[in-house]
């Protein structure tokens, strides 16, 4: 039975999404609940199975690589699936209200989101270079229509931009895959490594195409231009999914390829360059976040910055950097989802999200604002929180490898994050209201406020649960560094 779990983790949500699309509004009240619960359940099953018995492999169609495609649930894939289950589950609770019976497009939301959930799990489990291309496209083509749900008239320009960059990025990746197949005669992640290492300049160009394509998809500075408008304009539940999970999927692939098939090619200079991109993203994204006038754009630019931390793994490439980068992915995912949901509640209540006009929300939106503040602690990297653990690990890695300049980046990134989070909180809490806010919407019900709070509390809880999660992740894959 255990060897079936990876298949179920992909196809339970995926099939549920297809059924939702087919049945439409008839099943809107109960089908999404059932599907989300089932998906979380199989994801937890996978987590416990991997934690107890180690990695699981499943050969699709019974054909072993290099002929067929394998699904591999190793530590890294499993923690990402767990993150998706936690964030996805809580966002689903939020969406039950936000995209429930009252929303005419609810059926589309649930069909797309459930298929996206399955696609993300498929991407994390995939052990085949070409299959990864297909799952990348699945994730993108599910994400873009979700952005449109905010009302096509508002977000169509952002969605179009997102599509162009995503499409070009994945074709660039595919070009690299084509060269790799020419060199190695295989697509399996575990088999192509030696041929790429011995491939000379062809191997290097193939690796470059794949890495740059993924950097575009991951919205890493300077390819971030499509992200803020798309993430800032989407409905809150969608923004949370996009920022916490979808862009992270591309960074995940960078980590996976770099420590797997590309391990033999990793060059010190290239690794430093990747780190420099990460540092630039941290500084640029944080400064932009501080300058934004709209709350959701603050959070969106914060994503640009936070993704940068994960890139700091590449120049350091030691066990602590590996753990730190992945742990940062987890804690940022949880905290960022909380921030977006909280910001969404502000938007529901006020009808706008202009940072300067947030005054006097502390009474009516206390729970959501509290969630924003708590999640902010993790984003800033203050103890006790998941963000702190991640930055601490990265900091120790930078000292261990003697690359002190990354420590400087880490500390300034934390200070800048504090600046943009406190700027929002200052407007929301500290300024006495000169007049009551001209509200246009209802106070979001608890079912919309609680998921944000829970996610924020989880971001704090991650500060105490590092040991089991890092044990599940396992050490740095061999042959890296």
């Amino acid at each position: 039975m255990t060897e079936w779990v990876p298949v179920l983790v992909v196809f339970v949500p995926f099939l549920a999404g297809v059924v939702q699309f087919m049945a439409g509004r008839r099943v809107i009240a109960w089908w999404p609940v059932l599907a989300s619960v089932a998906t979380v359940a199989v994801s937890l099953w996978l987590t416990f199975a991997v934690a107890a018995g180690g990695g699981i492999e499943h050969f699709m169609g019974g054909w072993q690589p290099p002929l067929g495609i394998a699904l591999r649930a190793d530590g890294l894939a499993t923690v990402m699936i767990l993150l998706t289950a936690v964030v996805g589950g809580l966002v689903s609770v939020y969406a039950l209200e936000a995209h429930g019976t009252g929303d005419p497009r609810a059926s589309h939301f649930w069909a797309l989101w459930l298929m996206l959930w399955g696609s993300l799990n498929a991407l994390f489990l995939s052990a085949d270079l070409f299959n990864i291309y297909v799952t990348l496209e699945l994730v993108t083509l599910a994400a873009i229509p979700l952005v449109l749900l905010a009302g096509p008239e508002k977000t169509v320009t952002a969605a179009l931009r997102y599509l162009q960059f995503a499409l070009f990025g994945s074709l660039l990746y595919l070009a690299g895959v084509a060269l790799t197949y020419g060199l190695a005669g295989s697509l399996d992640l575990a088999l192509v490594g030696p041929a790429l290492t011995d491939g000379g300049i062809t191997g290097a160009v193939a690796a470059t195409c794949m890495v740059v394509g993924l950097l575009v998809k991951a919205a890493v500075f300077p390819f971030h231009v499509w992200l803020p408008a798309a993430h800032g304009g989407a409905p809150a539940a969608v923004s949370a999914i996009l920022s916490a999970l979808v862009v992270k999927a591309a960074v995940y692939l960078l980590l996976r390829l770099w420590t797997g098939p590309l391990a033999g090619l990793a060059d010190g200079l290239v690794a430093q360059l990747m780190g420099a991109l990460g540092a630039a993203a941290i500084l640029y994204g944080s400064i932009q976040a501080f300058r934004q006038e709209r709350l959701k754009l603050v959070v969106a630019y914060s994503t640009v910055a936070q993704l940068g931390y994960m890139l700091l793994f590449f120049p350091m490439a030691v066990a602590q950097a590996w753990e730190g980068a992945v742990y940062h992915g987890l804690s940022h995912g949880v905290a960022k989802a909380a921030l977006f949901l909280a910001a969404g509640n502000v938007l529901v209540y006020l009808g706008h999200d202009r940072v300067r006009d947030l005054k006097g929300l502390d009474r009516s939106l206390s729970v959501s604002l509290l969630a924003f503040g708590i999640a902010g602690v993790s984003i800033m990297g203050l103890p006790p929180s998941g963000g702190f653990i991640a930055k601490w690990l990265l900091l120790r890695a930078s000292l261990e490898t003697g690359q002190w300049w990354w420590a400087v980046v880490l500390i300034s990134g934390g200070l800048l994050a504090a600046a943009y989070i406190f700027r929002v909180l200052r407007y929301a809490f500290l300024q006495a209201p000169d007049r009551p806010p001209a509200t246009t919407g209802p106070i979001p019900p608890p079912i919309m406020a609680l998921p944000a709070t829970l996610l924020a509390l989880l971001a704090i809880a991650l500060g105490f649960t590092a040991a089991p999660l890092l044990a599940l992740l396992g050490g740095l894959p061999e042959g890296t560094g």
Partner: protein
Amino acid sequence: MILFDGVLALLIVVLAWRCVTAGDLYLGIVVFIVMGLMLALSWARLDAPDLALAEAAIGAGLLGVLLLSTWRALPGHRRQDRDHPPARKAVRWLAGVASVAFGLVMAALLHALQPDEDAAGALALGRLTEAGVEQPVTAVLLNFRSYDTLLEMGVLLMALIGALLARTPLAPYGAATDDGTDSPLIPVLATTFTPLLLLVGAFLVWAGAYGPGGAFQGGAVLGGAGVVLVLCNRLQGAPEAGILLRLLLVLGVKVFILAGLLMLPLEGAFMAYPPGLTYPIMIAIEFCLATSIAVSLLLLFTGTHGVRVPER
């Protein structure tokens, strides 16, 4: 033949150049379609008749129709570059130099590339008898790497949802009522040509087991038959889809997944076909896929949730 290949390759490059840089957008689209046809020709020369068929039917044919209909729907001033001027001269030069360098590197690499004889493809050719069909590409698509094909159907479905969401609140774009509807060719097209297309499409799906063809090529031709009917006003877009149409839309992906999951307890692996039943299962899946592809492509063309027969 080397002369023919050389001329064909040169033609493709010139067309691509014109497509990317044409002053007029309409010209760019037309050149793109012609380039697609030339590519199909070249792929036929490169021992890839399946792909030549697919490129001609989907890459040049259907995409061409979509490109032209989008162009026609744009307001006049939006067809020009005025609001979206190309990048500045300095950027253009920089991009030019970079792309020439990129092209030269890729050309050199491609000439140095020598695939092994122990590639996965050789394995696939060697184990063709276990796959249930004679045609290697179909064996890979529906058996060895059927998982890719399944997910690809998901991509098609989501692209359709996205296109519908983007277009829904605009005035429905039904049949082409503005021009050509009284042409004497219309009845001929609708009554003679469409059944022929349906026949060819179905044949292509079936033929995929033995020779060039398959679900995608056949499905595209079937979808094309639908497009002809819409253009002839025998079929038009409808704002709502009935459950039957939706069932057809998801038929491919659903049958694929359910068949795959059923094999899990029976054969121990997702989509591991039981020996002896491989061929019938694959043909059944192929026809389901082709149906879904045809309906999806038709709806991508009409841009509506459903289709209906117009009242007369």
